[in-house]
Structures are given as structure tokens and as C-alpha cells.
């Protein structure tokens, strides 16, 4: 343990709590649930580039932990990636950026994580050879497709794509179709919800339309709200510390007489 405290570890996983956690599980302590992004993520290739879309709900079991989370992540100015699955895993995977991303992903997911890391990605980008759309599955397989959906809402979104996709869509049609597919996921899948995020990648320009559509506004807010009068809460003990402004040390002049 002394070694672990001396320097920040060089990266990689540490397995030293596995036995302890197994022992605790035997004694009846359940592991806290992970944040999952039971999700709808989609991508499609249109005339000039790629459109990616995602919903914005993050769940912790049956509870919505975040009503407006971001699932479309930046990889490079011309490559964006949407992630479904365990939120920490998708964040960890996309933060290890690489331009040869799909190749690395295949290797990493298969050899190293071996499916234990539950992250499914839809990755799209535009380079000199044109627009590309790939999907990466938790076990490491990849597909290259003209349109793709992943996540718990993928069936709902795929039904929209299968019926309305055609070659040579314009930008507006592409965005509209992606938004329709995500809305299908939001309204029909319980693990997806809230708003629609869209990202349009074309040669030389990328537009991230955060909260492109808000089909679920909050309408039940009480206009008066709760107002608590000062002193309503019983306080046993108060301590107020003033914060002093930090003293700046600047280069001084040579000592004067």
C-alpha cells in the first residue's frame, strides 16, 4: 500500500479491491449501481457528410439521474462519437483519443476489456476519402454502415431509418430524419428520454446542435414555488468563516534603505 501512495499510479486498472468487494458482497453489501446511458444513439451518412444524434437521459436503475446529459463526444474536429452503455466506460473510452480510433477500439475492446466494459459507440466523421460511419460493439466488433442505431432505443430508431432513409439526402432532410429517429426512441423506449442532440459533420465544418429539439418541456412547475422564511430551519450550531483574499507574492524590488 505504501507504494501506491508514493506516486500517482501510471494508469491502467488496479484490481486490489476485488477480493474485498467479493467479501463484502458475501456479507450482504450490494454494490451500488452504475450510471448507464440506456440510450438511443443514431448516425447516418448524407450527401456531404455525417449526422449523429443522441437523446439526453442518463439512468441509475429506474431513476433518471441526469435529464440533460451529453452523449455526443468530441474526438477530433472532424470526428464525433456517441456512446451507449455504462457512462463511465464510454467516457473513459472516448477520453483515450486516437485518430485510428476504430482500429484501436477493435483491439482494445477485444483483447483488453473483453466485453466487461459495456460501451457501444456510434462513431462518425469526414476525411479526405469522404464521410464514414462506424459502430463499435462492447465485445469489439465494428461495422461500417450508411445508417446505424445503438442503445436500448435502437429498434425504435431503426424502424424510422429503414422506412425513410434514401441515398443522397440533403442536410436538412438528414437532420430531420435523425431527429425523428431519436424522438421515436425517446417516446417509445423507457431508457431514453428528454431532448434531442444532433451533430452535423461535413468537410471542413462541424456543427454541434446541443438540445436541437426539446420535446419534453417541464410544464408542471408551480409558479409560486416553495418559499421558506428565514429562520424556518432549526439550527443548533453556526460557524461563519470569512474568506480572506489570497495574498499574491510578486517579485519585489531590491531592498531599499
Amino acid at each position: 500500500m505504501a507504494g501506491a501512495m508514493d506516486l500517482p499510479p501510471k494508469g491502467g486498472f488496479s484490481y486490489d479491491y476485488c477480493r474485498r468487494n467479493a467479501m463484502l458482497a458475501d456479507k450482504g453489501l450490494k454494490m451500488p449501481g452504475f450510471l448507464k446511458t440506456g440510450t438511443t444513439i443514431v448516425g447516418l451518412v448524407f450527401q456531404d457528410g455525417v449526422v449523429l444524434g443522441a437523446d439526453t437521459r442518463a439512468t441509475e436503475g429506474p431513476i433518471v439521474a441526469d435529464k440533460n446529459c451529453e452523449k455526443i463526444h468530441f474526438m477530433a474536429p472532424n470526428i464525433y462519437c456517441c456512446g451507449a452503455g455504462t457512462a463511465a466506460d464510454t467516457e473513459a473510452i472516448w477520453s483515450a483519443r486516437s485518430f485510428n480510433f476504430t482500429v484501436m477500439q477493435l483491439v482494445v475492446n477485444h483483447e483488453f476489456y473483453q466485453g466487461h466494459v459495456s460501451a457501444a459507440l456510434v462513431l462518425g466523421g469526414v476525411d479526405v476519402t469522404g464521410p464514414h460511419l462506424h459502430t463499435v460493439y462492447p465485445h469489439g466488433s465494428t461495422d461500417t454502415l450508411p445508417f446505424a442505431t445503438m442503445g436500448s432505443g435502437s429498434l425504435a430508431a431503426m424502424s424510422v431509418f429503414e422506412s425513410q432513409y434514401k441515398e443522397g439526402l440533403t442536410r436538412e432532410e438528414g437532420i430531420q430524419l435523425v431527429a425523428d429517429a431519436i424522438r421515436a426512441g425517446i417516446f417509445n423506449d423507457l431508457g431514453s428520454g428528454s431532448n434531442v442532440d444532433v451533430c452535423v459533420i461535413t468537410k471542413g465544418k462541424t456543427e454541434y446542435l446541443r438540445n436541437h429539439q426539446l420535446p419534453n418541456p417541464r410544464t408542471y412547475v408551480s409558479s409560486k414555488g416553495y418559499s421558506f422564511t428565514k429562520g424556518q430551519t432549526e439550527v443548533l450550531y453556526t460557524k461563519i468563516t470569512q474568506l480572506k483574499p489570497k495574498v499574491e507574492v510578486t517579485e519585489g524590488d531590491a531592498m531599499e534603505e
Partner: protein
Amino acid sequence: MVGKNCFAIASDRRLGVQLQTVATDFQRVFKIHDKLYIGLSGLATDVQTLYQRLVFRHKLYQLREERDMKPQTFASLVSALLYEKRFGPYFCQPVIAGLGEDNEPFICTMDCIGAKELAKDFVVSGTASESLYGACESMYKPNMEPEELFETVSQALQASVDRDCLSGWGGYVLVVTPTEIQERVIKGRMD
């Protein structure tokens, strides 16, 4: 919870072993520096170990960079530290709250393996988290002044914690503004 140029972070004070209470003054909200606090819920031993590790890392950072860590940086540090133990995690969910540059409040929470969740209004964690979501959702108002923020946070905490057997025995609320830190221990049901 975020207010106008201030934030509040609160916790209950019970330490228990399943249904038996062991202590009623357990500290769960810890100071990293004057304007950055972390609250840790979950297994008590992991709460304390994680806090000690984080303070260690922050002190190293202070020595190297000669300044305090920004809340966003600290959140990334906590996330990385938790994800290292992806396959044998700490049984701990942190809530991080701080005032960043220009005294802009920053709050975030994470699950036990480090998935960050930023929010602009409030974040919750712990055994009463479902109740807390409900209470905060209805009681929160944007741009509250520190006094009102304190009352709101206390009422939301009390309301939720009273509906949870495993939490309670008083509350500890910390409100931080750019000029002062207000720590209060509030009276709650002792059952």
C-alpha cells in the same frame, strides 16, 4: 445545490451498520480548499480512504502548481481515481461542489466508478437519493441568495432523509459564497 454566486452542500450525520446506528456525528462533507468541497456517501471506510487520497493528491498539486485546484480539474481527478478501480470499485458516490473562476458555482456528482454528471441546479447521492431528487426538483429555484439557499437545502434534506430509515440524526449544511463560508448543524429527527 447552486444559488446566485454561491453553493450549498449538505449531508446527514448518521453512521450505521445496516439498521444499527453507530455514530450521530459522522463527517461526510470534507474541505479540499476554501472554495472546493466534496461530500462522499456510501461505505464509511471508502469515504475516509478516498478523502485522504484526494487531499494527498491536491496537496501535491498545490506544491507543484502553487495554486488551488479548479473544481472542474478536481472533478476529473476524482473521476480518474474512481475509474482506476473499475473492476473492484470504491463503494462511494461523491458530490463535488466548488466556486470556480469568477466565483461561478460548479457542482457535479459521480457514480461509484467515476461517471461524471454535471448539473446546473442540484445533484444528490446516497441512500435517500430518490427522495432527494423529488424534493430538490420541487423546491429548487434558480438564483437563490445564500439565506434562501440554506433554507431550501435544509428543508429538502430533512424532507428526504425523514423518509429514509438509514439516514438522519441531524444535518450539516455548508453554504459558500465568495466572501464567507457558513457551516451550520441543523436539528432533525433523531430516529
